[in-house]
């Protein structure tokens, strides 16, 4: 293999992009030869179009449909979406054999039918054109055979590094997959002295260590919010990203609507607003150090029965409330706090008597819980000392996330990165082996509760690629065994018969694999909670809620998904509290130099209401260098600051950076109509259940001049429970995936032209330092007296017989008058042919939804294609199928109920009959088919507001 060194810079770059160019470049070119090559390329392009099929898999050309594929009828296959090792069960919808949509798997305990944004956006990851198309060696394209040889060389001694120095290292993220674990074990066994390091950029090591401290052994503490009456969330991610968060969100929301049953009560104390905090009945703002201090005081009060002394005023009332609900009270601590604090919280939960109810302790689902000796820092120590001669990096990106690792990697003679794209680590390693997407090969993974799912491939690899299991087998010199055989081998015992195997595949869960309960007792002696040092200014580095540790940076859906609270997109401004903004004279978009010790980066600021005053929050995961064309250079890389030590300082640079944001109004609108999100306390609700309905800012016309009820027997309607909505954005991503909603890019968002059909409005009330925050999903209201329809000069928007406000894209001439006349502003105008500009192949789109052209208005249709599918199914089978909209299906908390409001037994009819039901902007006389259930909060009367 010739090296890149001999080539001029431009050609080197081209060879990287087009691996086969390198062979061509090796030959002198003349005109005849060039023409021959061009002709060959043309012919080759044509041939490549005809899928030759892979004989052993029996793939056939799509000209004639494969068995079981009926054009126009989607197929659905179970699988799982795996993030940081933990699996969420999903169902992948295929259209003519290609995956187009992800839904939650109702039978999977970590999904319960719902999905998070990451699972929804997996379709974009799968079709990402920037995924690696072939292996690289030292940055030059290599053949797959060479990879096999290189992988086998992993085990061979390299150079002068002594064998005894346990030269082979494997670096992975958290592994729950039994098959992958077995493959790693097999390699470790074949090579004594090899070490397996598990590391996640956004880790939960402190939580793991805390549980181990508390129970004397690795343990997984899983809350069961169905059985919790009072909970205290301390800087917690329980509802947004903790393992099993979809289940927790479902359980939590199941007890939030007083009409449906008794309410729970959630207190949250946190330095910066999170979904958990916004969902709470009482949210208290405290700097991280104060949170630790509060844990200490709580420990003193609950474990030692001492009266709470010092600390914030509310602490006593909260402790009393927790104590007043023995067995049904829970404290949850976020992952950013120390192991000792976690251990202390576990002890408190035991003391509150919730074990077996409010929470329980299980065997961890990890294949092998991480050991202190196998951390990343241990690996880096060894790398720096030259003790690592071969390093397998499986689907993690430490070069981007850990500057120290990047510096040490060149000292490893043989480094192999298995990565889905030529990202930072893949480029720094000697070898880059393309990783097959989770939809492309066999695998397995466990949920947080241990339930295993077998991942079946959803498609032939789009760009070629190997799964981690295959790579490890290849290292072991056993490349012939396919991943499927290995997975089958893992589960041969439990799923002995082919029927069991198939049933497990179809169900998406392997029955009986939930982790066993541990009867480990809580340790009696726990280390005291060490108080975190307090500084004038604290920098909190948190994962970007949508890009996570940076892996989703090239996913345009997630880049353009408004962050739940700041509503910023395409970037990661530094979130600063309003007090700091005032004292420093900073405004949204002002650039500051943020320094930690000697490390310094420049980035814009964004004022985040409700953030602790001495605390600035940076979001990790942006500023990627090699994520792909979509994500490169978006935002600022803050990882270099993570491991830096020293005082945090921010200094305004005087420059201003445009920060794309989808809400353009002033951050606190006290004089906005207060009946948009109607809310009140449980006490008030008990006095007068219908009080929200009377909360009317304006006189509402009693009767409409015209009233026309659509004649069809079915009338579609929707009810959205604001008590359940936690603002997680899953519905937005689901809508985007289902309806081919285009991404417009940063510049167009800056021009206020984002296209989301469904948005989550974030509404503040109260003070800037501790505002009341509300989320309100806003989509087409399908008004019966739709103002948009009367003003359209060509009848492009009209009512159908079932009450849908339909939009006829073909008829639209683009006067945009409908948008002016929509009080809810849920119509989006396609200013450019946004869909054409998207970097996604046409086959990734939903074929049931037209891709809108330039110059037409578009909006939510209540997923009319799904209604049509159900109607067809009903006509065909005579069985009325329940229609579930994409947003409703994705919602983890079942905040959205959709159905036929003419049917008194339909869930939506029950929801609409709730005394909490109200209409947004009733004075407009639009009679929307979408109604909301107002938000009730279970305030503790003992706490002064």
């Amino acid at each position: 293999m010739p090296s890149l060194e001999g080539l001029p810079g431009d050609e080197r770059d081209w060879v990287r992009r087009f691996p086969h160019l390198e062979q061509a470049l090796a030959h002198p070119l003349d005109r005849r030869r060039t023409l021959k090559l061009l002709a060959l390329a043309l012919a080759g392009g044509g041939l490549a179009g005809c899928d030759p099929g892979t004989p052993d898999r029996g793939f056939v050309s799509a000209v004639r449909a494969a068995p079981g594929v009926i054009p126009g009828v989607p197929n659905i296959y179970a699988s799982a979406h795996v993030r940081d090792g933990y699996a969420h069960g999903i169902l992948v919808t295929h259209q003519m054999g290609r995956p187009t949509k992800v839904e939650g798997n109702p039978g999977h305990p970590a999904s319960l039918g719902a999905t998070d944004i990451f699972a929804q956006a997996a379709i974009q990851d799968f079709y990402d054109p920037d995924r690696a198309s072939g292996p690289l060696h030292d940055g030059m394209p290599a053949a797959w055979q060479e990879v096999t040889t290189a992988l086998q060389a992993v085990r061979a001694p390299v150079g002068s590094v002594p064998q005894a120095a346990s030269g082979l290292r494997i670096l992975t993220g958290t592994v729950t997959s039994p098959t992958l674990g077995a493959a790693i074990d097999a390699l470790l066994a074949a090579h004594p002295g090899a070490v397996w390091h598990q590391w996640d950029a956004i880790g939960r090591d402190a939580a793991r260590q805390g549980a181990a401290l508390a129970y004397g052994r690795p343990a997984m503490v899983i809350p069961d919010l169905r059985q919790v009456d009072v909970a205290l969330a301390v800087d917690s991610d329980l509802l947004d990203s903790a393992p099993g968060h979809l289940r927790h969100a479902r359980a939590f929301a199941g007890r939030r609507n007083p009409v449906q049953g008794p309410m729970n009560r959630l207190y949250a104390v946190e330095p910066t607003p999170s979904l958990t905090g916004v969902a709470a009945d009482h949210r208290f703002v405290a700097a991280p150090a104060v949170c630790d201090e509060i844990v200490g005081r709580l420990g003193a009060a609950i474990l030692h029965n001492a009266a709470p002394s010092g600390g914030p005023d509310w602490l006593g009332a909260v402790v009393a409330d927790l104590r007043a609900h023995p067995g049904r009270a829970l404290i949850h601590l976020g992952p950013d706090h120390g192991a000792d604090a976690h251990a202390s919280v576990h002890a408190m939960n035991e003391a509150l008597g919730g074990r077996g109810g409010a929470f329980d302790v299980f065997e961890p689902p990890d294949y092998r819980p991480a050991q202190p000796t196998s951390t990343l820092s241990a690996l880096m120590d060894d790398m720096e000392n030259g003790r690592v001669r071969a390093l397998l990096i499986l689907d993690v990106n430490p070069v981007y996330q850990v500057p120290r690792f990047a510096a040490a990697l060149p000292r490893v003679p043989l480094s192999v990165a298995l990565a889905d794209r030529p990202h930072e680590t893949a480029q720094a390693a000697r070898w880059h082996v393309p990783l097959a997407h989770g939809f492309e090969d066999w695998g397995d993974a466990r949920a947080d509760d241990g339930t295993a799912t077998i991942l079946q491939p959803q498609a032939m690899p789009l760009y070629g690629g190997m799964s981690a299991v295959t790579v490890l087998r290849a290292c072991a010199g056993d490349a012939a065994r396919s991943a499927r055989e290995q997975v089958r081998q893992t589960w041969r015992e439990r799923l002995a018969s082919e029927a069991d195997w198939r049933a497990a595949l179809a169900a998406g869960v392997v029955p009986g694999t939930a982790a066993p309960r541990l009867d480990a007792a809580i340790a009696t002696v726990l280390p005291p909670v060490s108080p975190a040092g307090s500084a004038a200014l604290t920098l909190l580095l948190r994962p970007d809620p949508h890009l996570w540790d940076g892996r989703e940076a090239n996913n345009p859906w997630l880049q353009e998904l408004p962050r739940p609270l700041s509503k910023t997109v395409w970037g990661n401004p530094l979130l600063i509290p309003p007090e700091l903004a005032r004292s420093q004279g900073l405004r949204n978009g002002d650039e500051v130099a943020l320094s930690v010790g000697a490390h310094r980066v420049a980035l814009p600021v964004w004022v985040q209401l409700g953030q602790a005053s001495g605390c600035v929050v940076g979001l990790l995961g942006s500023g990627r260098r090699h994520a792909g064309a979509t994500g490169d250079g978006v935002g600022t890389d803050l990882y270099p600051l993570r491991d830096a030590a020293g005082p945090v300082r921010i200094v305004a640079t005087g420059r201003t950076v445009a920060v794309a944001c989808t809400e353009h109004h002033a951050t606190l609108v006290a004089d906005a109509p207060s009946d948009i999100v109607r809310h009140g306390t449980l006490a008030r609700f008990r006095q007068d259940a219908g009080f929200l309905g009377k909360m009317q800012d304006h006189p509402v016309p009693a009767a409409a001049l015209y009233r026309r009820d659509p004649g069809a027997p079915v009338a579609w309607g929707m009810s959205i429970d604001l008590n359940a909505c936690i603002g997680c954005n899953a519905c937005m991503t689901a809508c985007q995936a289902e309806n081919n909603v285009p991404v417009v890019g940063r510049d167009e968002v800056l021009r206020q032209r984002e296209m989301h059909w469904l948005r989550i409005d974030r509404i503040y009330e109260g003070t800037q330092s501790a505002p009341d925050t509300f989320f309100q999903p806003m989509l087409c209201m399908h008004c019966e007296q739709a103002p948009c329809e009367t003003v359209c000069p060509v009848g492009a928007t009209t009512h159908d017989s079932e009450g849908l406000n339909v939009m006829v894209y073909n008829r639209c001439v683009g006067t945009k008058f409908c948008s002016n006349n929509c009080p809810y502003k849920v119509r989006r105008f396609n200013y450019f042919a946004f869909a054409e500009q998207e970097r996604r192949p046409p086959i990734s789109r939903n074929p049931d939804v037209s891709v809108r052209a330039r110059g037409v208005m578009e909006k939510c249709t209540f997923c009319v294609q799904r209604i049509a599918q159900a109607r067809i199914a009903a006509d065909r089978d005579g069985v009325a199928e329940q229609v579930v909209t994409a947003c409703q299906a994705a919602c983890p908390t079942q905040a959205i109920t959709f159905g036929d409001i003419n049917d008194p037994d339909a869930a939506v009819s029950h929801r609409k009959a709730s005394p909490l039901t109200y209409v947004v902007l009733p004075e407009q006389g639009t009679h929307p088919r979408v109604t909301y259930e107002g938000r009730i909060r279970n305030r503790n009367p003992a706490i002064e507001l």
Partner: protein, 452 residues
């Protein structure tokens, strides 16, 4: 009317039908004059064509690239496009008011002005009429607004104010052209008979359609002209009412108001009189029209101008009153933002230019100081443009849900289009001034005949 203005003559003393014909025909035909076409005209045409070229480029790029090249966004989906449309259609009204309304009222001084005023109407209506097409997302389908069933049997949607607007513009443009052309027929015949060159005789002869001034022709002419004038007057009111309903028919904050139709008629009158003054004052000197457009005209126009400014001022006050008297909090929020927020300079600019400055016209000496009147007129044109900006943009930028608030900044392409239409307006007007008689000779002759 009383005071000195009432007795001032409408026509300079000593003017006869003969001298009038001579003088006006000389302006148009300029036979024997050197240079044949005045230099100021060429200079003005060059500037106008430059602006027009800019507009043509802006339209070409718009059609190629799409509406995204403009600064309109979400929620402000209407920007300079609709703004310019409303502005131009309002400018167009002045000619109709002067020509039709005052014909019906038998106001004699109108005769010297009506031709120029109607020509201004035509040119402005032409500029206005292109925006409803340009503002479409898919302008090549503009004909879908026409009243015909398409292949699917689907018609235009007649409940939409935009369809009303389509019919209003269609009628207004056609009726204005016909009214203007109809009034031109006798003068075209005069030019035909007076022109020396064969080409001009053919040109004016064809346009005159064979009008010879026969008794029969005059009999029908008078009847049709009177009825047309009687129709044009309510038509112009209806057109501006319907333009007002484009907004009032919508639920947007700041738009949903029953006073919009008359408000828009007032505004139209104000900008109409302003543009007539703007055109008349320089043309009076350039074309040597002092004998026919006398100080009396300037004075009367100044009074009308002041009156319409007061009417508009009343509408502004009522707008504020209704906002705070009414129940809608979103409306109030929007209004406060309009007055004190980001676009406050636009609001106060509107007030100062449309209401405050025209108050100077209470003084007759100001009314007769032509440069000052001209500046006030120019100010009103800018002020009316700003008024439409605050009506359209601030209303859309502050609607009922705070989560949908936004703002709007026009791009270079929108400005180019505005100046492009100014170029179109000036080009068309210069051509009319050059090729058509600038004073309605036949009517002037009848007036000079005086009461028997």
């Amino acid at each position: 009317m009383s005071g000195p203005a009432a007795v001032a003559p409408v026509v300079a003393p000593g003017e006869t039908a003969q001298s009038l014909t001579e003088r006006i025909c000389a302006v148009t035909l300029r036979e024997g004059a050197r240079p044949w076409t005045p230099l100021w005209w060429w200079a003005a045409l060059a500037v106008s064509l430059g602006l027009l070229g800019m507009g043509v480029i802006a339209v070409g790029w718009l059609f190629y690239a799409g509406l995204g090249i403009w600064g309109i966004d979400w929620p402000v989906v209407w920007g300079l496009d609709i703004l310019n449309y409303v502005w131009w259609i309002a400018i167009a009204s002045g000619g109709t008011f002067i020509s039709a309304l005052f014909f019906l009222l038998g106001v004699e001084w109108r005769t010297a002005l009506n031709r120029l005023a109607e020509s201004l109407t035509l040119c402005a209506a032409l500029c206005a009429a292109i925006f409803p097409i340009l503002h479409l997302g898919r302008p090549w389908f503009f004909y879908w607004l026409f009243p015909y069933p398409n292949t699917m049997g689907l018609w235009a949607q007649f409940r939409s104010p935009l369809v009303w607007d389509f019919f209003a513009i269609l009628t207004y443009v056609l009726a204005s052209i016909l009214f203007w052309y109809f009034g031109l027929l006798p003068d075209l015949a005069t030019l035909r008979d007076r022109a020396q060159g064969q080409g001009r005789r053919v040109f004016y002869g064809v346009l005159a359609l064979g009008f010879r001034g026969s008794g029969r022709q005059w009999r029908h002419y008078r009847a049709v002209y009177a009825v047309m004038a009687a129709l044009m007057a309510p038509l112009v009111v209806s057109v501006h009412s319907i333009v007002g309903m484009d907004f009032a028919g919508s639920a947007a904050t700041g738009w949903h108001s029953t006073q919009f139709p008359p408000f828009f008629v007032f505004g139209a009158a104000l900008s109409g009189f302003a543009v007539v003054l703007l055109a008349i004052l320089p043309l009076r000197s350039l074309l040597g029209l002092h004998a026919y457009v006398t100080e009396r005209h300037i004075d009367v126009l100044g009074r009308l101008f002041l009156t319409s400014s007061l009417c508009v001022g009343y509408a502004y006050v009522m707008d504020a009153f209704a906002t705070f008297y009414g129940p809608d909090e979103a409306d109030r929020t929007m209004f406060l933002m309009r007055v004190f927020g980001l676009y406050a300079p636009v609001y106060w600019g509107t007030i100062v230019l449309n209401i405050v400055f025209p108050q100077l016209l209470w003084w007759r000496s100001v009314r007769l100081t032509q440069p000052l009147v001209w500046l006030i007129g120019l100010g009103v044109l800018v002020g009316m443009w700003l008024e439409r900006f605050q009506i359209i943009v601030t209303s859309l930028a502050r609607t009922q849900l705070p989560s949908t608030w936004g703002q709007y900044t026009p791009t270079l392409w929108e400005w180019s289009l505005l100046f492009g239409t100014i170029g179109l307006f000036l080009t068309a007007f210069l051509l009319i001034v050059r090729l058509m008689p600038v004073v309605a000779m036949a009517e002037m002759r009848a007036m000079l005949r005086g009461p028997a």
